[in-house]
């Protein structure tokens, strides 16, 4: 037993030493990596899978792209991850991608052309993937829109030039006529300033090519077969294709009035918002899906870690066209509409801020709203009980599924008394045992 224990300690020590040595690897290596454009439930995440990771994680029944590429990989100890030097070496590997399940090849993929199309512009982050002919169509649409914009921009610059010239002429004319002694209104038409064209409100990435993986949930393997029929060394990877555990609910991002930079999430329907006393809460509802934490983290970045036993909610899209109801049981206390708010810094030594409704005055001053949200005010006079928030469609009044959350106002002042409740079994025990003793004595 003792020997076994010593062996265990030695093995564990070796494990630690080897781990420490493993961290000191050669800094630069030429490697075959997979560049990934993976659907993450809402849009597409870009990452790469180095040789150190043997598994690629993807969401089921959605297009994701894997592109085998030869690049320079180096270990960056500060972030404890491998980095790719695509700017130094970015050699695309050609061949066919074989997808295997249980050791059998179930499909062979050719590279396909794709684009990422952002209907609400690049910064909206919401993208749609188009393939082949559709990719060409949408990319052409974007290019035409950009060309049209450039044409309008050129026209705008020319118009601006003409405008400046006209404005100079206007001032010259005014000066000349005033100097000539003319009084009263001069009736000279004021030149109109041209307006710049609006930029293209959508975006498309340049067409690229890669292997499109769109698989049902399960465990697979992939490998790259060269044109000469051999397998490209280091191209074998496991692929875990997964789906959400729960979907179709509404999650909330909550901005507490006293700390607007530190938001809270109330995603799971079982989660309760505990509060005491006065409060101002700003709710932002999102459609959401629940994924395995390890799988999802690895999907976004294969070098990320996660816990296979845990699940996480992922906000997919904001819930639009809804009102937020705050109520107690069936009684509606507040029917809240989405409104813009502005965070105003309080001047002076106090270092604070105030969240105020964004109005026309702020707009005229050139300020933009800090955030948009549904504001719920909890009055200090509210009875300490349970309240509910939920969202309903503005058009039909139908409640959004699984959008109800409880706001529980706690009676914090009674907290010390809960120790008294712990004495209940002692009291019962004393009564029971004394009763028994007296019964025996009788």
């Amino acid at each position: 037993m003792r020997r076994f224990f010593i062996l265990l300690v030695v093995l564990f020590g070796l494990l630690l030493v080897s781990g420490a040595l493993g961290a000191q690897e050669t800094p630069f290596k030429e490697q075959l990596v997979y560049s990934l454009t993976s659907f993450n439930g809402s849009t597409f995440s870009k990452s790469f899978c180095p040789q150190s990771e043997d598994t690629i994680y993807l969401i089921a029944n959605q297009n994701s792209v894997v592109s085998p590429t030869k690049t320079i990989v180096y270990y960056w100890p500060i972030t404890r991850r491998y980095m790719a030097g695509f700017s130094t070496l970015n050699e695309k590997i050609t061949g066919k991608l074989e997808i295997l399940q249980n050791g059998k090849v179930i499909a062979t993929q050719e590279e396909q052309k794709y684009i990422l199309y952002y209907p609400k512009g690049y910064w909206s982050e919401k993208a749609i993937m188009y393939l082949d002919a559709e990719a060409d169509t949408y990319y052409k649409k974007y290019k035409e829109a950009v060309d049209a914009f450039n044409q309008k921009l050129r026209e705008y610059y020319q118009a601006m030039e003409r405008y400046r010239e006209a404005l100079n002429n206007f001032f010259e004319e005014v000066r000349r006529r005033r100097e000539a002694g003319e009084e009263g209104p001069l009736n000279i038409p004021i030149p109109k300033e041209p307006q710049p064209p609006a930029f293209v409100d959508f975006y498309s990435s340049d067409p690229a090519s890669g292997f499109i993986l769109n698989l049902p949930p399960g465990k697979y393997e992939i490998r790259l077969r060269r044109d000469d029929g051999t397998i490209f060394e280091g191209s074998e990877k496991k692929v875990v294709v997964f789906t959400s555990r729960r979907k179709g609910g509404v999650g909330y991002e909550i901005i507490p009035g006293n700390r607007w930079t530190k938001k809270e999430n109330c995603d799971d329907p079982s989660w309760i918002i505990h509060a005491v006393g006065k409060n101002e809460l700003y709710f932002n509802p999102y459609k959401q899906e629940e994924y395995n934490e390890l799988y999802y983290n690895k999907l976004v970045d294969p070098q990320e870690i996660g816990r296979i036993e845990r699940f996480k909610w992922v906000h997919i899209d904001p819930v639009e066209g809804v009102s937020l109801l705050f109520g107690k049981g069936k009684e509606i206390l507040q029917n809240v509409e989405k409104a813009p708010y502005f965070v105003k810094q309080i001047p002076g030594p106090e270092l604070g801020y105030e969240i105020i409704p964004y109005d026309e005055e702020l707009q005229k001053k050139g300020y933009k709203p800090t955030f948009e949200s549904y504001k719920v005010s909890l009055s200090p006079n509210l009875p300490k009980t349970d309240y509910q928030v939920s969202v309903v469609a503005q058009s039909s009044g139908t409640p959004e599924a699984k959008s109800e959350r409880t706001i529980r106002l706690l009676k914090k002042e009674n907290a010390p008394y809960i120790y008294i409740a712990a004495f209940i079994p002692l009291f019962v025990g004393v009564v029971t045992i004394l009763g028994r003793v007296s019964k025996i004595e009788r």
């Binding site: 809270e264 079982s270 006065k278 300490k384 409880t406 008394y417 809960i418 004495f423 079994p425």
Partner: protein, 272 residues
């Protein structure tokens, strides 16, 4: 018929013995005191003009209460089995109509009944706490309490199995505490390390996390406390299929360990 009468007599004897001992109420008091401490801290953490988002805040105290109560019941049973072995009572009993099966079933049913009674106390305690603080005596808590019956059953059957393998009181208690303590420690360390971000962990802690993950996976279906966590998770998820499945798992687990205990006692005999 005679067998059921034997079982009922043994059950009644043990049940009343524990019920009229102060230890049972002391264990309940200790577990409620720990729960009160946790809940007080939770209430203190919820400040004015701020919020605290949490799932059922009463679930963690319930988890601890269930562990303390079931550990107490298991240890008391282990002591009683070993004492009866050491003092020769078991030998005398087995010359009569008592069999290992009726003896161990009576112990199991006694512990389970005391566990159910303890859950009644727990329900009362949480009800009083929720009236005082509005922490919420919800349907979720009722379901968790109901699940608690099955989880106590798992711990009790596992404890009986260990007790049936050991002879003397001391070795019985040490083995029980060591095994159950190890299960709890592994679960606790694993969950604690899981809660820490990767960037905050030193390489040795990262390896430790990986190692505990493997160990945790290995004991996942043996440790009764793992059933407890999974059972409470199914309550939070409000997944009734999972809830029923966990109950079924607990029943199967309990039956396996009770039968293994009977087998082990039959093999080992009645002498210490």
């Amino acid at each position: 018929m005679r067998r059921s009468r034997v079982l009922s007599t043994l059950f009644k004897r043990d049940f009343l013995y524990t019920l009229y001992s102060f230890g049972y109420y002391g264990a309940l008091f200790a577990s409620f005191l720990v729960s009160s401490f946790i809940l007080k801290n939770f209430l203190d953490a919820t400040r004015e003009e701020d919020i605290l988002v949490s799932a059922f805040p009463l679930n963690y105290p319930l988890y601890l209460t269930l562990i303390i109560i079931s550990l107490y019941l298991v240890i008391v049973s282990a002591i009683s089995i070993s004492r009866e072995r050491e003092q020769g009572t078991l030998e005398v009993l087995f010359y009569g109509p008592v069999t290992p099966s009726s003896f161990l079933w009576s112990k199991y049913l006694k512990d389970l009944s005391l566990g159910i009674l303890a859950l009644g106390f727990t329900a009362l305690y949480f009800y009083v706490v929720s009236v005082l603080t509005n922490l919420g005596f919800t349907m979720g808590l009722v379901r968790a309490l109901f699940m608690g019956v099955f989880l106590i059953s798992c711990v009790v059957s596992f404890g009986l199995f260990i007790s049936s393998l050991t002879g003397r009181i001391r070795s019985s208690i040490i083995t029980l505490i060591a095994i159950l303590g190890a299960f709890l420690a592994i679960q606790f360390v694993y969950n604690m390390l899981l809660g820490i971000e990767k960037e905050s962990l030193s390489p040795s802690l990262l390896y430790l996390r990986q190692a505990t993950a493997y160990v945790f996976r290995a004991i996942n279906w043996v440790s009764p406390f793992a059933y407890l966590s999974r059972g409470l998770d199914s309550v939070v998820l409000e997944n009734w299929t999972l809830y029923a499945t966990h109950m079924l798992y607990c029943v199967v687990y309990s039956l396996i360990f009770v039968f293994l205990s009977i087998y082990a006692m039959g093999k080992k005999g009645v002498k210490a």
